[in-house]
């Protein structure tokens, strides 16, 4: 009798623990990265945790979340500035130029307002707005669908809220490309390191930047907010290219004393596809 009773208590205890543990384990599973990034000075090794999370209108994380404000009026004032940003980025990161739209790889690019902000009203909109170039790039969402979709954690949110890629782990399934609501991801449809017989690269027209790796074919790539530059105290290449124009402001959006937080606080900004619940970290002043 006693033995049975002990066994029953053991099972009851275990089930209670399981009952308590399973839902919270499930929540952890879904919120893994949101929690990791809100822990602030997380150690870099934590970077490989899966992300995911709750809907777009929930609480804000309090850890570092790098973000960007793009002022499209300033880009209109400075002709050619957007192209200089794109060039700076693509040169910095050895983004290959295949010369055709089918194989195209781009980390940052321009489109017009109507196509950049498809879910904002275009009805009776100021006609001149579509003349301005709008810089589009990865939004480094606080709740990134691409990270949720990746089956190998090859793309993940790092400890400062940046969505980055591990080129060596990516299997090239392109689930992240289907998952991204912003079209921010590109795939290496062919070998970007291909060379001519004379040894020159075919697709790196301006040579290779030794400070950033080139990629192999068959992996996905995208904007990464220049972690290699942030690590040595520099701004991302595109932001640096805007110089003193203040057309782009970069920083930790969760730090109330940062420049970007002040800009966000004193301007009306919009984000791309806010209804997708991804909480984009790139903001626009229109």
């Amino acid at each position: 009798m006693d033995v049975k009773r002990r066994k029953f208590l053991k099972i009851a205890g275990l089930s209670a623990v399981a009952g308590l543990g399973v839902p919270s384990a499930f929540t952890n599973l879904l919120q893994g990265e949101a929690l990791a990034s809100s822990s602030g000075q997380g150690n870099p090794a934590e970077g490989h945790k899966p992300a995911g999370g709750h809907g777009g209108h929930g609480e804000e994380s309090t850890g570092t979340q790098y973000g960007m404000v793009i002022d499209i009026k300033k880009f209109a004032e400075h002709q050619g500035l957007a192209d200089r940003c794109i060039n700076a980025c693509h040169t910095e990161h050895n983004v290959p130029d295949f010369g055709n739209p089918k194989d195209e790889i781009k980390w940052i690019w321009t489109d017009d307002y109507a196509h950049g902000f498809t879910e904002h009203s275009q009805y009776k909109r100021n006609a001149g707005l579509n003349e301005l170039p709008v810089l589009l790039t990865c939004n480094h969402c606080a709740n990134p669908p691409c990270v949720r979709a990746c089956p190998t954690q090859a793309t993940f949110k790092n400890e400062v809220g940046v969505v980055v890629m591990d080129f060596h782990r990516c299997i090239g399934c392109r689930f992240c490309m289907a998952a991204c609501p912003y079209g921010a991801r590109s795939f290496n449809w062919r070998n970007p390191r291909e060379k001519y017989a004379n040894g020159n690269y075919k697709f790196y027209k301006n040579g290779v930047n030794p400070n950033y790796p080139t990629r192999m074919r068959g992996v996905v790539e995208k904007c990464n907010f220049c972690p290699e530059r942030l690590a040595v105290g520099k701004l991302p290449a595109c932001v640096e290219a805007t110089g003193e124009t203040k057309a782009m402001v970069f920083g930790n959006v969760n730090d109330p004393n940062s420049e970007i937080a002040k800009v966000l606080n004193s301007n009306f900004t919009i984000q791309r596809k806010p209804a997708a619940g991804t909480k984009p970290s790139v903001f626009y002043i229109i």
Partner: protein, 385 residues
């Protein structure tokens, strides 16, 4: 039992070598794709999944369709399916094998496929899809092979297979549900973002899978003297009809929601698929054709006097299968990428290597199916003597 697949008449061997030929040509195309990269296909930055993933999605449905035989036979003890159920299980094996081949053909870095297991990621639906597909392959291989082996020896199948049979039933639903989750959980793709996607997938699967089986069983009746029985054919016809009705009903619901709500995101892809969006209308003709022949075939199947005529029955099954193949194996996946997230349209044209590889995977599936069916048919014939 495998030796039974090594005995056959000239027609059998001609068919086997024909399939091997198609597989070899596709293999060469794959070698080219492997060396050049996926740029050898028609896929692009905007349409980042093409015919491989579309075929994969469709074949998951064919695999799941096998359950429409397993369920009545083993749960409801529906005796008329006694001979044909094994064919359903073997068809599922061939279809899942094709799914795995299509996924592999679609990977940019196929050598790294084990990363999915080395770095298991439960928040990714692809991880779960890998689990359920391999699990389903395993379940059908176990159930099909053990039961046929027992049959071959003239003994009742061992009791330990029962749990596997019962498990394979909900598992069949799971493979297509999880495959729908690959699509319907993505916030940026309105065409896929619908809670009815999984039921729609299942309905089309339960029509397409058995329709294909009916056609193959009719063929076996002619070439292999294997008669599944008129009762089994007619019951399959009923199953196909109701599944097809559910499928088109669900499709109608999508139309209502999109066009009554007038939400642009919901309308754009349907516009593109059925009417053309801006000046782009590559898929309009195939999609309208698919809808037309699908509805005609379903109507034909509703009439018992049509269903009872073998030729007409075969015709309606073939039309329905083709209709659902176009709808799911072409429009479903490509439509999700049009328009792209910026509202721009890129159309997709599969390349010759891509089509060659696709045909080779179909041939490989047909080869697996032929070998398995040959064994099943021979065992059944031995039985009759």
């Amino acid at each position: 039992m495998l030796e039974k697949a090594l005995v056959g008449n000239n027609k059998y061997w001609a068919w086997i070598f024909f399939l091997l030929g198609v597989i070899s040509i596709g293999g060469l195309f794959y070698l080219y794709q492997y060396n050049y990269g996926l740029g050898a296909t028609g896929m692009s930055r905007d349409v980042s999944w093409g015919i491989y993933i579309a075929q994969f999605t469709f074949m998951v449905g064919v695999a799941a369709g096998g359950v429409m035989l397993v369920l009545p036979y083993y749960i409801h003890d529906y005796k008329a399916f006694g001979k044909i159920t094994i064919l359903g299980e073997f068809m599922a094996i061939a279809a899942v094998a094709m799914c795995i081949m299509f996924i592999t053909a679609d990977l940019g870095q196929p050598m790294r496929i084990m990363n999915v297991i080395l770095h298991p990621t439960p928040n990714s639906m692809l991880f779960w899809d890998m689990l359920v597909l391999n699990g389903y392959l395993f379940l059908n291989a176990i159930c099909g092979w053990v039961i046929l082996n027992a049959h071959n020896k003239g003994v009742p199948y061992p009791k330990w297979v029962k749990p596997f049979i019962y498990l394979s039933i909900p598992w069949a639903f799971s493979i297509h549900t999880v495959t729908a989750f690959l699509y319907c959980g993505l916030p940026g793709r309105h065409f896929w973002l619908t809670a009815i996607l999984a039921p729609r997938f299942l309905a089309s699967a339960f029509a397409a899978g058995p329709a294909l089986l009916v056609l193959i069983a009719m063929l076996l009746k002619r070439v292999a003297n294997f008669d599944a029985g008129e009762k089994a054919f007619q019951k399959l016809g009923t199953i196909i009809t109701y599944a097809a009705l559910a499928n088109f009903f669900f499709l109608g619901l999508e139309f209502f929601v999109a066009y009554y709500s007038q939400l642009p995101g919901h309308m754009h892809t349907l516009d593109y698929l059925f009417w053309g969006h801006e000046e782009f209308d590559n898929l309009v003709l195939p999609m309208r054709f698919s809808l037309t022949i699908g509805l005609v075939a379903t109507t034909m199947l509703l009439f018992p006097q049509i269903k009872k005529k073998e030729g007409m029955f075969a015709l309606s099954c073939a039309m329905l299968f083709l209709s659902l193949w176009i709808d799911k194996g072409v429009g479903m996946v490509l439509g999700g990428f049009v328009p792209n997230p910026m509202g721009r349209i890129t159309e997709y044209y599969p390349t010759v290597p891509e089509i060659g590889i696709t045909l080779a995977v179909w041939a490989a599936g047909a080869l697996i199916l032929t070998i398995l069916f040959k064994i099943a048919v021979t065992v059944a014939a031995d039985d009759d003597h």
